[in-house]
């Protein structure tokens, strides 16, 4: 871990013991995050994005089992901490923003009470200071008449306002790391743009490190510096956001980009790229490449043996049996197929 790194995840695996066998929700995931950086984690439903986040926050469901050779945050090894030490960090040095704000807002308490509690739990500050900080942050996230909002209950706010309150709450202790799990998926596009604009501004101002979890490649392109593409519990490709969109290496990343229509580029009414088949079951013995059943380059080797990781320079890499020389240049998004 370099001194400037905020978070280092080494060989993280999250499993669920089920009667049918072991379910591998997160499978040998490693990445580091430099301070102030925004990492996007992108992938389809069920590929392990949220469980990765929950593992970092130590909020995994009871049944989940975690293994890792390292989960280092600000130089501190998280796996060595007990629950009370961990809850000192959670909501304090690292905070989370969820897709549905009501999962973290309590309907029985006012916005003000919950915002203040977020800091009173961790810091020895006076109530009046906590209130002042709540007001300051509500204004920061663009909420007008903040004083009267403090007295309101979550259900009295629109979805967009609630998500702003969530962001304010996450910021109460000025965390170093924010994990946003599909923060705008439930919102209208205009509100999404407002919230993402706000988040990026605040991140720059407070120099926070952000993990942005999303299935939306438009969100990834516009808010992240670096991207990890997940598939069936594994990271199959990482790179700077520009590299990933210009020259995706992994067949899955390429196909994913081909699936989405790009206004102005994709010819109207033309067939879009698609990925045949579906994500394989994550239960039991998962040897071989997990994308094999949907990949047009699949060979016997892919079916039988785990693909190797190709590291290209310091920022890029992908998990596949194909060598960089075997991969033809990506023809670009929206180019007719």
């Amino acid at each position: 871990m370099k001194p400037l790194d905020c978070l280092e995840i080494k060989n993280l695996t999250v499993t669920f013991p089920l009667s049918a066998g072991t379910l591998w929700a997160v499978n040998d995931v490693s990445f580091t995050l430099a301070r102030g950086e925004t990492l996007g984690i992108v992938g389809e439903s069920g590929c392990g994005k949220s469980m990765t986040a929950m593992a970092i926050m130590n909020l995994l469901p009871q049944a989940a089992q975690l293994q890792a050779t390292g989960l280092t945050f600000n130089g501190q090894e998280l796996t060595a901490l007990n629950e009370s030490e961990m809850s000192d960090i959670r909501g304090n040095r690292m905070a989370m923003i969820f897709q549905e704000p009501m999962t973290s807002l309590n309907p029985a308490f006012t916005v003000g009470a919950q915002l203040m509690e977020a800091i009173l739990r961790h810091r020895k500050v006076k109530k009046s200071e906590a209130r002042e900080r709540a007001l300051y942050l509500l204004e920061k996230v663009g909420i007008t008449a903040a004083a009267s909002r403090l007295r309101q209950y979550p259900h009295e706010l629109s979805g967009g306002l609630r998500q702003r309150v969530m962001i304010a709450m996450a910021l109460m202790c000025s965390p170093d790391l924010i994990i946003a799990d599909e923060p705008t998926t439930a919102l209208d596009v205009t509100i999404q743009a407002q919230i993402l604009h706000l988040l990026t501004e605040i991140q720059r101002e407070f120099e926070m490190t952000v993990i942005m979890i999303t299935h939306d490649l438009g969100v990834v392109a516009n808010v992240t510096d670096r991207v990890a593409v997940m598939y069936a519990g594994r990271i199959v490709e990482t790179g700077l956001v520009s590299q990933l969109f210009e020259s995706p290496q992994h067949p899955y990343t390429q196909k994913l980009l081909d699936c989405i229509p790009v206004p102005g580029k994709t010819k109207r009414g033309s067939y879009l790229g698609s990925i045949p088949g579906r994500v394989p079951s994550l239960i039991g013995d998962l040897s071989g490449c997990s994308f094999a059943n949907r990949c047009s380059f699949c060979t016997d080797e892919c079916l039988n043996n785990d693909p190797p990781w190709h590291q290209i320079g310091s920022q890029r890499g992908y998990l596949c049996w194909r060598n960089p020389e075997q991969i033809s240049p990506y023809k670009g998004q929206g180019v007719s197929l």
Binding site: E44, S45, G142, I143, T144, S158, G159, G160, L161, D188, V189, T190, I191, Q192, A193, Q194, L196, H197, L198, T200, H215, D216, L217, G218, V219, V220, A221, N222, V223, V241, S242, L244, F245, K255, L256, L257, D258, C259, I260, P261, V262, P263, G264, T266, R268, G269, S270, Y271, L272, G273, S274, I275, R278, Q333
Partner: protein, 336 residues
Amino acid sequence: MNDSASTILELSDVVRTFSVSRGIFKKKTKLHAVSGVSLSVQKGQVWGLVGESGCGKSTLAMMILGLLPATSGRITVNEKALHQWHQRNLSRLIQPVFQDPYSSLNPRKTIGQIVGLPLRVHEIGSKEDQCKKVKEMLEMVGLSPRAYDSYPNQLSGGQRQRVAVARALIMRPQIVLCDEPTSALDVSVQSQILNLLIDFRQKLDLTYLLISHNLAVVEHMATHIAVMYLGRIVEMADTDSLFANPRHPYTRALLKSVLLPEPGKRVTDPNLGLEFPNPFDLPTGCKFHPRCSEAMPVCRITAPDAATSPGGYVECHLYSETSTQDRNIDHSKEIA
């Protein structure tokens, strides 16, 4: 709007209000879900209907399907007023595909029964014919014959949405009304369903109404777009004109909010402020004025008339022919 011979669906001044009580002791209030929508759909067109949550898209869809009566206004399908249609015959002509493939399929029926239901209801063909038709349909939407005896919970989200498409198409309707058909799906599955819709449009000569909050999808699919705001269509145009030259400030904000999958840009604020539209307490004048960055004094007083624009119209004082004068008058009042 001119070639009436090919007008397949026509809405004129369609209104739907709901009477809602907002608390135990409170009086019922009127909620304006759709307030005066007119639209003329020609055979073969694909209309994209966009607008934020709660603006009335689904209410409009339910009225077109004949599942919800309009409070006032007129809907005609193939030049016959909706109330003159028997629901049975109407449903042969217009079929829906809804967002949630989980809740829209009966969990206790097999896929064969679900897709074949319309054939049984309309007593089309013998039992064997029906079975054959259903199997052909399943194949057309790319499902394996095994699906015939499966139950919805044994299928993935994408497969369930294929079932929904098969069920919609089995009666060979002329209009298919898709309400967020791919919103619950992953992009790799979304593209499969969109390809299916593209395919059938040509093969079966269909007319689509496509409700979606994904503007990239609408841009890809639609020949025409109608933008709704608080129960009204505030702008409509052919897709190229709308994307090249969005005129209504709300349309512009909407397009500005689209995040293209192209790195290097930053998310810009669409400048809509924090006001949130309340359908119980509609703003006076132009209903968009509390959020409009270009609002003028007149906007708070008078609702704008529709001004024709290339391929459609726009409802905004910035474009109304007579408003230059009004604007000045109102402005002077404001200053005084």
